[in-house]
Amino acid sequence: MSADHILSVDHLSMRFGGIVAVNDLSFGAERRKITALIGPNGAGKTTVFNCITGFYKPTSGSMRLAHDDGRNIQLERLNDFRISKQAKVARTFQNIRLFPGMTALENLMVAQHNALMRASGLTLLGLIGAPSWRVAEKAAIDLARTWLERIGLLDRADDAAGNLPYGDQRRLEIARAMCTEPALLCLDEPAAGLNARESASLSELLLAIRANQGTSILLIEHDMSVVMEISDHVVVMDYGVKIAEGTPQHVRDDPKVIAAYLGADEEEAIAVMESGT
């Protein structure tokens, strides 16, 4: 692999009992690029995500994260919150997981937990209201404000996250992940349930994140218009294995990808239907 990969997944396998969800998958995500992971339902995309972000422990294989400063981190050796805290991998969820009873601003403040914990001297400095803590808190609010402005939610900063429209919640979740200042941002179907206009603004937001923050992005997506528009590299999965990879144009024309998406069964179904009418 000659390209500059921030994330290299090597021979990743994940079994649940007898079911092989991911089978010997290898791919890379390039630094400061947007990599899309696509495939039909049940292809194992979210399982890959859960392995990368530490929610599952893979059966075998390795996932290496190469930071800008030359640090290499084996993700399979970290678990749980350490993936986000130490390896700087942030994620969003397929079904939005905001803190619904907290305001949009509070959601972004929670995301800065680790930085703020250090600044508050593990709570002690904060409890006595030390000046250094006040400065850090103000900086955190400013960072949150910046992100709220970028996702166009500044005027709803003090509204409960659960009260926001669906599209806004999606964008807020991305902003929340970005507030952890990640090196790699993993988005699980960020465009799901969005209308065409909201999808377009999402694409814009992701391209801006790549351009301004230099964050590498790995995303799972079903909305092909988003994938084709913003991805630099596409990895196609089906039944837990990689069936194709390359540029969006290359993948789109791959007969194996077309077969996986349309499915042999479906072709037969169409044939049956046509003959019937």
């Binding site: 929610f55 993936i83 805290k85 619904p100 914990m117 508050s120 003090d158 992940a177």
Partner: protein, 433 residues
């Protein structure tokens, strides 16, 4: 309205009949037949069909009344339009409740100086306010259901009692020690229950509370077993005893000694401790640790994805809550002068939890109001003697129907840019564990 009455009558009667039938089945054995052991131990019984008939008739009539009231009120869930003036007046009133209550509390020993009963009741209420605020950290903020909170109260009380009687340490040295020891036990409890959620967590914490009580009961050589610890020293005002002797506070101030001095001192002591609890909790809520507690209550998985160490977050919640419980326990020991395991039964845990739930989980003012209502109200009903529990239970059921999320159900945000607006209780999660 008149037209819709006609089909309603049949419906009301049908409903009342069903209620009466259920009442007949239930009460026929409970009231209709009375059994008792006779003089030689044989079973004697007699029937009370008159009482039974009266009961069933009451249920029948009551059911009709309830149904009529329901029709008169209209369907449940209709939004009543409240004039904006009324709403703003109400919100102003709500904002004034806390300061007014605080000023009144400060003045209680002045107003009721000669009424020992009121002062004692005030101390009791404030103890439960403090316990409620302490448990609120665990249940209200972090969303971890703790049914064994009394264990930390007991640890605090026994810490002070044993340290003071065995080593002669003063109250002011023992107070922080009691807090630290209780926090330590909070962490000890926290470790095994980290993976548990919901009902399972509740059961294990319940068991923990019982274990502590049973240890206190059976470790006779240290705790005195069921006899408890006696002769616990009374607190001094930073070294100056509140006693009639020459070195006492009264003699130093050249005023006549009165036992009320000590009660007033205890009152302000528990008030200070409770306010400390409140201040720390309010402060913690605005710090990253407090936000992490609330985030944990909202969504644990999301917390982990944001790099929050859920283990330490839960443990700090347990430790903080336990510490306040321990401080309250030390106060309890010094106030009573005598403690025994009997004071630390599950009943106490349930009472404190009821205060937190009734007050509105997470709301400081709500918990204070609930403690006042639960402890003060319970005393108010003392005149009703045997019906006290019944009236009290009914009041709680009614309150839970009208305010299912507690007296103050909404949540105040910890930080805001422009508008500090409360968050509706429908959005705030209760936590899973």
């Amino acid at each position: 309205m008149q037209t819709s009455r006609a089909p309603g009558v049949a419906f009301i009667f049908k409903k009342a009949l069903i209620s009466a039938l259920v009442a007949l089945v239930l009460f026929s054995l409970m009231i209709g037949v009375r059994t008792e052991a006779g003089s030689d131990g044989q079973l004697t019984y007699w029937t009370r069909f008159g009482d039974l008939a009266m009961m069933v008739a009451t249920v029948f009539g009551g059911s009709i009344v309830v149904e009529l009231l329901r029709q008169w009120w209209g369907p449940v869930g209709t939004v009543r339009v409240v004039p904006p003036q009324v709403t703003s007046a109400l919100s102003l009133g709500a904002r004034l409740v806390a300061p007014v209550l605080l000023i009144f509390t400060f003045l209680v020993p002045v107003i009721f100086y000669n009424e020992r009963y009121i002062l004692d009741l005030g101390i009791l209420v404030l103890t439960y306010v403090m316990l409620g605020w302490g448990l609120n950290v665990v249940v209200g903020l972090a969303g971890l259901l703790d049914l064994g909170y009394v264990a930390f109260y007991a640890v605090g009380a026994y810490s002070y009692a044993l340290l003071a009687t065995n080593f002669g340490l003063s109250f002011w040295i023992c107070l922080p020690l009691a807090g630290i020891l209780a926090a330590f036990w909070g962490v000890l409890l926290g470790f095994p229950v980290l993976r548990l959620r919901g009902d399972y967590l509740a059961i294990v914490t319940l068991a923990f509370g019982e274990i502590i009580r049973l240890v206190l009961l059976n470790w006779q050589s240290v705790t005195g077993g069921p006899n408890g610890v006696t002769g616990i020293p009374r607190p001094t005002m930073f070294g100056i005893p509140l006693s009639p002797g020459d070195d006492g506070l009264a003699a130093m101030l050249r005023i006549e000694f009165s036992p009320t001095h000590r009660i007033v001192f205890l009152f302000y002591l528990i008030l200070a401790l409770a306010l400390l609890t409140n201040w720390v909790t309010i402060r913690l809520r605005r710090l990253p640790i407090g936000r992490a507690w609330e985030a944990l209550r909202e969504d644990e998985v999301a917390c982990r994805a944001l790099g929050i160490n859920t283990t330490t977050t839960k443990l700090t919640a347990f430790a903080t809550g336990a510490m306040f419980g321990g401080l309250a326990g030390a106060f309890f020991a010094t106030r009573q002068g005598f403690i025994s395991p009997e004071s630390f039964t599950f009943h106490e845990s349930a009472l404190v939890l009821a205060i937190v739930v009734l007050g509105g989980m997470g709301s400081q003012l709500g918990v204070a109001l609930a403690a006042l209502a639960m402890i003060g109200g319970f005393e108010l009903f003392r005149g009703l003697d045997q019906y006290r529990m019944l009236v009290f239970g009914m009041a709680m059921v009614l309150l839970m129907i009208w305010r299912p999320r507690g007296l103050i159900g909404h949540r105040a945000p910890t930080v805001f840019l422009e508008r500090n607006q409360a968050i509706s209780s429908d959005l705030v999660k209760e936590g899973h564990g």
